[in-house]
Amino acid sequence: MIPVDTPSVTAEVTRIVQAVLGDFGAEEITPESTFREDLGMESIDVVALAGRLQARYGAGVNLAQFVATLDVDSVRELRVGQLVDHIVLSMSEAGERP
């Protein structure tokens, strides 16, 4: 069972963001960090991140849908905390289903 409380998901998302960024990773990642401006992620990196999170949390979080609803420019505004909130919400909704 994967922990889906906010601190655990934040830690996991941070770890995966670092993995996606590789050697060029940011020094500090916080819930307020924007993927684009603060972390220097390109739109293709966000796609790679979504793929890894999908693999970790399963289809229930539907990150493809979440990210796909953002156009290429709004991806720039996306913050780490928004993504964490989306995952926590999706996982808790999935858990409540009979």
Partner: protein, 260 residues
């Protein structure tokens, strides 16, 4: 994220699967040359296709996005070989290609006509001699633009961070590989091979883009092709007008792919 070894290169592929659909048909999304990656499809058509019941495969072409960037191997056939290796186990696929990605899609369909159920091209053309002459000019212009000092700063000021990023990707591809030499020298499919593509075809164009000038030739080669021109739009149609593109493709798929 998935990295797949195909045709001797490591390719970045993303797969999106619809829930509750048994044996969904597969749609493959191919992006444009140099300044493009799978991201332009990911943020526009990928999820809408999943909602229509397709299993969606997105590919970063060799030298692009997060795929490997070998120094050589950039003729049209190399891109088609990659796609053929990747789709080896697929029965029949829907291909969607933006700009050069559309050209790769047409070339794949010319090589494997029975393995393509339908083809959608956005601002693109089949691989004809006239189209490759234009591609050659375009690559030359691009190479000249990105090699100018401070070019990236200028692009950044004009088109924002995304534009600057795209220029940087293009600069790397043009500087570090033989794409400028190899792509223009590509062996092209014969006209007979292109004309043997009999699947349904949809071609979308921006009215203000020069690519629309290729439409009559495409229509002669592929009389079945449905053409649609978007008023006032440029070559960046997919990124600039994702909702209109989405609506046009969705409506066309419903009529051309009954039950698909």
């Amino acid at each position: 994220m998935t990295l797949v070894r195909a045709n001797g290169v490591t390719l970045h592929v993303q797969e999106l699967v619809p829930t509750g659909v048994a044996e969904p048909p597969t749609a493959v999304l191919l992006h444009g040359l140099a300044t493009d990656s799978m991201a332009s499809w990911y943020f526009t058509m990928a999820y809408p296709l999943v909602e229509l019941g397709y299993r969606v495969l997105l590919l970063d072409l060799r030298g692009h996005g997060r795929s490997e960037r070998p120094t050589i191997g950039y003729a049209l056939d190399d891109f088609v070989d990659d796609l053929s290796a990747l789709l080896e186990k697929e029965r029949k696929v829907l291909l969607l290609g933006n700009s050069f990605g559309g050209t790769v899609a047409f070339a794949y369909a010319a090589r494997h006509p029975s393995r393509v159920s339908a083809l959608v091209s956005v601002e693109s053309s089949p691989p004809t001699t006239a189209w490759f002459a234009r591609l050659t000019n375009r690559i030359g212009e691009l190479a000249a633009a990105v090699s100018r000092p401070r070019a990236l700063v200028t692009v950044g000021a004009r088109r924002g961070a995304l534009g600057a990023q795209r220029a940087q990707d293009a600069a790397r591809l043009l500087a570090e590989t033989s794409v400028r030499e190899e792509l223009p020298a590509s062996r092209l499919p014969s006209r007979d091979r292109l004309a043997a593509i009999t699947c349904p075809v949809l071609c979308l164009y921006g009215e203000r883009s020069h690519v629309v000038e290729m439409a009559p030739e495409t229509q002669r080669l592929l009389p079945q092709a449905a053409l649609r021109v978007f008023a006032g739009q440029k070559h960046t149609l997919l990124i600039d007008q994702p909702e209109d593109v989405r609506a046009a493709i969705t409506a066309w798929l419903r009529t051309s792919q009954p039950g698909g």
